[in-house]
């Protein structure tokens, strides 16, 4: 009885806290502009199956992809066990799913094997981050103390959770052995370790109890840590991939308000459709998070901080300041500064400034976090978008800030202003006379065509 009450209290607290945090995050995402992303349901579901469930884009780099796959499948399967823990916790049963018989044997076996693989993968991941220091995971102005610690916290937690599971299984098997009772399930990893904790029944019961509690409290704590962490991607990847941009990557968004303006300019009889009730006049482009769309804000909550985008960015590869990962992480920081922070996270974690990126004191995303120098280094090559395992559109955010610089501040680099003038005056980005446009044909066959 006490066990049940204690469990219910812990569970309700854990889940309640999580819901409270999710609501904050929903409000933060809704700071963004409206954008209608709907239709093509089957294409979207397909993307979710391939990219989110199927991890398709991870396999561009097979070695980390396999390790990540263990952790991911381990996470999915272990969730079934979490369900059992809940049932046991509430009804005071013991291994409630044991009634499934052989299916339970398989489930437990798969669970343990995956658990072991998760431990192996997490250890390798820790080594990659802390010993061999894989550049994309450790370098760059955005990889400050918090993101680095965040990754390690998660990996260590996962290892601890797996060990708690193993401890529970070992003690449980030994207890059953001593009592000569039948324990449902098979345990390929721990079966040979049953004597590890000795054969004192009361201490075994204690170990089993601790293992069980650490596992469930650990999971609830982990769940509540997610919204502060890059690990939130395990939830956000699914909706974010669902709302993927389906148009060709080269198609940049159209600014409709400008279309109306130009149509009205060219044709005085053109009637600009009235703005919806209570709509604020919008800035051109994005200066701050509320000028981005909700999808772009959702992108930033989905980022795994894996650095794949930055590691293929031609600007970053050649030493420019631009890092698409930083743009995404900055968006999240700024959103949480402007909106609400989840439980642990506070943008103050980010306040250590790197030497090269000198943001100003302006409290906006543009300039306060992202400098124009970063934005102007982008070649719009889409390599970042292509590489992102969770279909984030880094480029759209870069472009929206460029638009703000040009359209609201006229702050384009001088050479680009010259290019604009050329297009305006000569119809070409270079200073050539439009009357020379056809000269290429002059010596085609020494007689001109058409």
């Amino acid at each position: 009885m006490i066990h049940t009450i204690a469990f219910l209290l812990v569970a309700i607290l854990g889940i309640g806290l999580f819901v409270w945090q999710i609501r904050k995050i929903t409000r933060n995402i809704n700071l963004g502009r409206d954008k209608d992303i709907s239709g093509n349901v089957s294409e979207r579901i397909n993307a979710v199956l391939l990219v989110a469930f199927g991890q398709q884009k991870m396999f561009k780099r097979p070695w980390p992809a396999f390790l990540h796959l263990f952790v991911y499948v381990g996470f999915l399967v272990i969730n079934i066990e979490v369900l059992e823990i809940f049932i046991d916790g509430i009804f005071g049963t013991h291994r409630a799913f044991g009634v499934l018989g052989p299916a339970y044997d398989v489930l437990m076996a798969v669970n343990e094997v995956l658990g072991a693989l998760v431990v192996v993968a997490c250890i390798i991941f820790l080594v990659r981050r802390n010993v061999t220091k894989v550049p994309r995971l450790t370098r760059g102005p955005e990889m400050r103390a918090w993101p680095k610690m965040d990754a390690n916290v998660i990996l260590v937690t996962e290892i601890v959770l797996m060990f708690a599971l193993f401890a529970f299984n070992i003690a449980d098997q030994k207890i059953a052995q001593l009592n000569s009772t039948e324990l449902p399930g098979t345990f390929p990893v721990t079966a040979s370790m049953v004597n590890l904790f000795g054969s004192d029944l009361s201490s075994l019961a204690l170990i089993a109890g601790i293992g069980w509690w650490v596992h469930i409290i650990g999971i609830l704590a982990f769940m509540n840590y997610l919204p502060s962490s890059k690990h939130f991607h395990i939830i956000m990847a699914f909706p974010n991939v669902y709302y993927t941009k389906l148009e060709p990557k080269g198609q940049f968004s159209n600014v409709e308000s400008i279309t109306h303006e130009i149509k009205a300019m060219l044709d005085p009889s053109y009637v600009v459709p009235p703005a919806p009730e209570g709509a604020q006049p919008q800035k051109f482009g994005a200066q701050d998070v509320e000028d981005l769309s909700w999808k772009q804000l959702m992108d930033s909550y989905t980022c795994t901080e894996c650095g794949r985008c930055t590691s293929v960015c031609p600007a970053n590869l050649t030493g420019k300041l631009l890092s698409p990962r930083k743009i995404v992480m900055d968006t999240r920081d700024r959103m949480e500064e402007k909106g609400e922070s989840p439980l642990i996270f506070s943008p103050a974690h980010y306040k250590e400034e790197s030497e090269r990126v000198k943001a100003t004191e302006e409290r906006t995303l543009l300039r306060g976090y992202v400098t124009p120098e970063e934005l102007w280094a982008c070649t719009t090559c889409n390599a970042c978008v292509e590489s992102c395992p969770v279909n984030i559109d880094q480029l759209s955010t870069i472009m929206d800030m460029r638009r703000y610089l040009v359209l609201e501040e006229s702050a384009a680099p001088a050479a680009l202003n010259t290019m604009f003038n050329n297009i305006e005056n000569n119809g070409a980005p270079w200073a050539f006379s439009p009357s020379d446009r056809f000269n290429w044909a002059n010596d085609l066959y020494t007689v001109s065509k058409n």
Binding site: L317, G319, A377
Partner: protein, 257 residues
């Protein structure tokens, strides 16, 4: 085009030459070679000549949406005025902009990049490259344009065109969807790069030269400029040449003699 329209004729395709194809001395050669191929296969085509103006792509990528839309609407009015349905262009940037971004502004056309166009001509047997000739056994590497490749998923068409040359095609390590940008996109063509440790085109040219190819094939005017400059920076311009796929086909067909 105006002349054709005056005679009441509509061409099969409109060849959108683009600013680089009209003004850039190096790319004018590509324009001429492409036109020679069009003449060779007897397709009826027209160009807008002096009525063509910038698609607005560089303005849009630089963030100047206003200027972009002005350009786009001017061009759409011209194209619609002549009842144009099909457009072919040798510039991936013009291709991407007209194909993907003009529809939202009321311009709907079938737009074909010259790589796909040439691929079709070869598949239909209209262009028969005889046994490769000049290129047999030459080592050629293809540099993907971002606006053809990742932006529009066209990876195979230019490669199939090159395959017709019967040459020794080699791939760079970063190719197709993983191709590295030449550094010109996003209006970088018109400005100095931001401070960094290296120029992007140098990085890419090194990679291309590293394949041992003597010809770098491209299908974009800006890639051509960037790759040529990159090759020069490595003092390799005597041993490694940059050609557009249309030039290679024209050469193989003996059209540009």
């Amino acid at each position: 085009m105006a002349d054709l329209a005056a005679r009441g004729e509509t061409p099969e395709v409109l060849f959108w030459v683009g600013c680089a194809g009209s003004f850039d001395d190096r790319y004018k050669r590509v324009t001429r070679d492409f036109v020679r191929i069009l003449d060779h296969v007897g397709i009826s085509y027209a160009v807008l000549g002096m009525e063509e103006t910038c698609t607005g792509d560089p303005a849009k990528r630089a963030g100047n949406e206003f200027l972009f839309q002005m350009q786009a609407m001017t061009n759409i009015a011209t194209l619609d005025g002549y009842g144009i349905k099909t457009i072919v262009t040798a510039c991936p940037h013009c291709f991407n902009t007209i194909k993907n971004e003009y529809p939202a502004l009321g311009g709907n056309y079938e737009v074909i990049h010259h790589s796909t166009f040439l691929q079709n001509l070869i598949n239909e047997g209209k262009v028969k490259v005889q046994g490769g000739g000049a290129f047999k056994g030459k080592r050629i590497t293809f540099h993907d344009s971002c606006y053809l490749g990742r932006a529009n998923n066209i990876y195979e068409a230019p490669r199939e065109v090159l395959a017709a040359l019967d040459a020794d095609l080699v791939e760079m390590k970063r190719s197709r969807a993983n191709g590295l940008c030449c550094g010109a996109g996003g209006a970088q063509m018109w400005k100095e790069p931001e401070p960094g440790s290296k120029d992007i085109n140098v990085e890419r040219a090194e990679e291309a030269i590293g394949t041992g190819a003597t010809i770098i094939a491209s299908a974009c005017p800006f890639c051509m400029t960037m790759m040529s400059d990159g090759v020069k920076s490595q003092n390799k311009e005597d041993s490694v040449q940059v050609f557009d796929i249309a030039e290679l086909i024209a050469q193989a067909e003996g059209l540009n003699g």
